[in-house]
Symmetry: C2
Subunit: 493 residues, 2 copies
């Protein structure tokens, strides 16, 4: 656990800070944050490592609970009113509130403390043994959720400490909503928020998640793609068959699934599923302008990712992010390498990830994919097919439609609150990259409905943080910069 001596100190400062409500120039806020992180770098890195060391995957509810309990303690140690918002059988939301006397506005800081599933054998450093290593001469900390999304939570806590250490007062009411189920698609977030509408309502939700632009510049994003998943299983023989005795007579499910998936995209990456692009809401002139001003990092990224080509017929990454996508997250059939056997495998399964943009509903997009599978001759089931079903249809596909899916959301950039957030961020980090949509997904719609608010995303992680992949990491400078950004946002009026 974290050292408590520091938190006791913060607690004393808290009361002092709350008393003084004068306006502090933005530059002083940023300066205070920088002085604080510079002075406490070693201690902060150690504390962040302790937070990262607590496993936070969906398969480990006890680990998620430990994270949530720690966060309540950390908020309380800072004098923030804090508790868990719970419903049965779901990770709790960690809630915190600071009521600022005389405040006109309420700003809600959203982040999530859960991480993507891990396959430890694929990691060079075990995912919950945080380790600092130098990458390109700069220190990074490696662990699951280092970038996505514990960094944001830790930056917010640290920004609070920095402001209090410098006796800089808050001006708005502040709420913290830290979710524990984002990587599972936030299936219970809306329900939890609905049960606590008074607590979570705010003038704006600042969604602190995702990476900054690949150029390294601080980024403000006004929307996120929605996300829907499907898992498709196709069937060969009832059990693995000898590939010599039965091959080229018994259908091979890996080949069937390859043929099915291959038909979903052309070789430029354009999705061929009928109606896949129907309904896309067009960008406003302000959004198109922001996109045109955003850095084009494609060549740098191709080199960084060792890519020899890209999809999209020459369109830039940022343009393509404003389109829906279809991605294979995993494909498994039989065994490869040392475990490969001469069999016709009984099944082949692929997990598909569909990213959505405003104007496309997740249920409809799933349905378009299912209709396509059906059009390729498959009989569709949603549970394990019986012998009768398998023998009475030429081809059978089981399709599991993940219900923890959600739509895309976009906040207009010309709203006053949008302009205020841009101003605060730019006061801390200079001219920011403004993007209509982030490529990743956050359940912004659920937040907006339940909290009757607008969402604006302010990420802090480096783009190359191996988010969702083995060897996830955070460039520590992004954490220090993030504390400055969070300090500026915490002191908004």
């Amino acid at each position: 656990m974290f050292s408590r001596s520091h938190f006791r100190c913060s607690l004393l400062l808290c009361a002092a800070a709350a008393l003084s409500a004068q306006t502090v120039p933005p530059q002083s806020v940023v300066e205070a944050a920088r002085q604080y992180t510079t002075a406490h770098q070693t201690e902060l890195t150690e504390n962040f490592a302790r937070f990262l060391a607590i496993p936070n995957v969906a398969a480990d509810p006890a680990g998620l609970k430990r994270n949530a309990d720690l966060l309540v303690d950390l908020l309380k140690a800072r004098g923030v009113e804090s508790r868990l918002l719970t419903i049965p059988d779901a990770p709790a939301v960690v809630y915190g509130q600071i009521t600022t006397p005389g405040a006109q506005h309420t700003i809600v800081f959203y982040a999530h403390y859960d991480g993507q599933p891990v396959t430890p054998s694929e990691w060079e450093i075990p995912p919950f043994s945080p380790t600092v290593r130098s990458v390109n001469g700069e220190p990074r900390i490696f662990a699951r959720s280092a970038g996505d999304d514990k960094a944001a939570i830790f930056a917010q806590l640290t920004a609070l400490d920095a402001l209090r250490a410098a006796k800089i007062p808050l001006r708005a009411n502040i709420r913290f909503v830290w979710e524990g189920e984002e990587e599972a698609g936030s299936p219970h977030l809306e329900q939890i928020l609905n049960a606590n509408r008074d607590l979570v309502h705010g003038d704006v939700w600042l969604v602190c998640d995702g990476p900054v632009d690949q150029s390294g510049k601080q980024t403000v994003v006004f929307g996120a793609r929605g996300d829907a998943h499907l898992e498709i299983t196709v069937y060969g023989p009832h059990h693995g068959l000898h590939s010599g005795h039965y091959g080229n007579w018994t259908p091979n499910p890996a080949m069937m699934l390859a043929q099915l998936l291959a038909g979903m995209k052309d070789e430029t990456g354009h999705v061929l599923i009928p109606h896949f692009y129907d309904g896309i809401a067009s960008l406003s002139p302000l959004e198109r302008e922001a996109l045109a001003r955003a850095p084009v990092n494609d060549s740098m990224l191709m080199n960084s990712f060792w890519l020899g080509h890209t999809e999209g017929s020459g369109k830039h990454l940022l343009e393509l992010i404003n389109q829906p996508s279809l991605n294979i997250n995993g494909f498994a059939s039989g065994q490869i390498g040392a475990h490969a056997a001469n069999v016709i495998p009984p099944t082949a399964t692929a997990d598909l990830d569909l990213r959505l943009v405003v104007g496309i509903d997740w249920r409809e997009q799933q349905e378009r994919v299912v209709n396509y599978i059906r059009s390729r001759g498959y009989f569709i089931v949603d549970t394990e097919p019986t012998q009768e079903i398998l023998t009475s249809h030429a081809m059978v596909a089981k399709v599991a439609r993940d219900q923890a899916s959600y739509n895309a959301v976009r906040t207009p950039m010309d709203l006053p609150i949008a302009q205020e957030v841009i101003h605060a961020v730019e006061s801390a980090r200079g001219t920011a990259v403004l993007l209509p949509t982030m490529g990743g997904s956050v359940p912004l719609g659920a937040m907006e409905r339940a909290a009757e608010t607008r969402t604006i995303t302010v990420p802090i992680a480096n783009y190359d943080d191996n988010q969702h992949a083995p060897n996830e990491n955070l460039r520590l400078q992004n954490l220090w910069d993030g504390v400055e950004t969070m300090a500026a946002l915490l002191t908004m009026q």
Copy 2:
């Protein structure tokens, strides 16, 4: 280990049997075998289970050695001259010989004691915990290699015991050659045989491997398909990337591989790789006639395997086995199910199994596939590609060509030795199914070259033995029938 009391008894009988060289009617041989297995069924089942309990996968050389040592002991206990034929870094061949005074011919019994790799989590019964269970009212024993191919070895040993118990003499010289590397493609068999040419030469090699016809009738097969393997890996990003931030711009290797593989076959299963069917040697009239007489089990098999369609545009399984095939043994990219993460995986890998018929060379068939991959725009490498290679070619495929591959072989059915083997088998089991080619592969060519012989395959396992797959099993009646078949072959002149 096996009970030794029984073997001591056999040893005494051996000397007696060798002294008496009178001709025994075939019916008496079969009768003797049946009486023996009926009287000793429990003990034989237990002894077979002890043999199956010894792990025999390539990844466990110590386990393979334990199998080989046991077999030498078992042969010696029966008075058979026996030893291991070894070369460095390869599983030994177990060799045994019985010199029969006055014999004109030498008959070599080939089988293999190694098994296909296992993934224990996929097995209902652990692969090396042999267990008897009833299937359709008949007992079967479940374990890796129950059918493929320890059953054949155990049937030969038991047939020796039965003949000796009944004091029935052998008439030919007998050799046993039991390999330990067949499931790895027999990469060292020819080398070992070449180093021991005098020992392994015979008038015929009886290859006791594979399943009998699906009708359950005893089968004699005059050839086997060759087998060649390729492992193909294609590349996406250097490391897993967030599918939201980079999806539909970063190429997805699972989709690339799906598209590559999908183009290799049409939807009827016909292989589209140029020249794939070039060079096939046509069947002789006798072979075509045998094929026409063979049972057509396709409907029964479709039902048994829960299949809703088959490949091959309506051709029967036995016809298709006389064609080369292309089968995906495994396909892996990213993760599925509970481990699925929202990533673009860095690689996708498929293991391909190419079955060959007479007239097609394994190196050429591998090359045809590689040429096809190249024609689809891939730069081909055979080691892990560097950043420079990946970024300077649009698409890169690593292709590992398994060198433990071999060609198909077919022995003409009208040779005198072929007719003698048919006669012996039919004396034991009635009219046999005669097939020009088995679907599975055995390195018959290596045997024929090194032993200067012809090969004829006499399988004994049930077709539905889950050979090469989880839950491999042997119908025990096939073992008892197999003992009769082996007794008849052991007493050939």
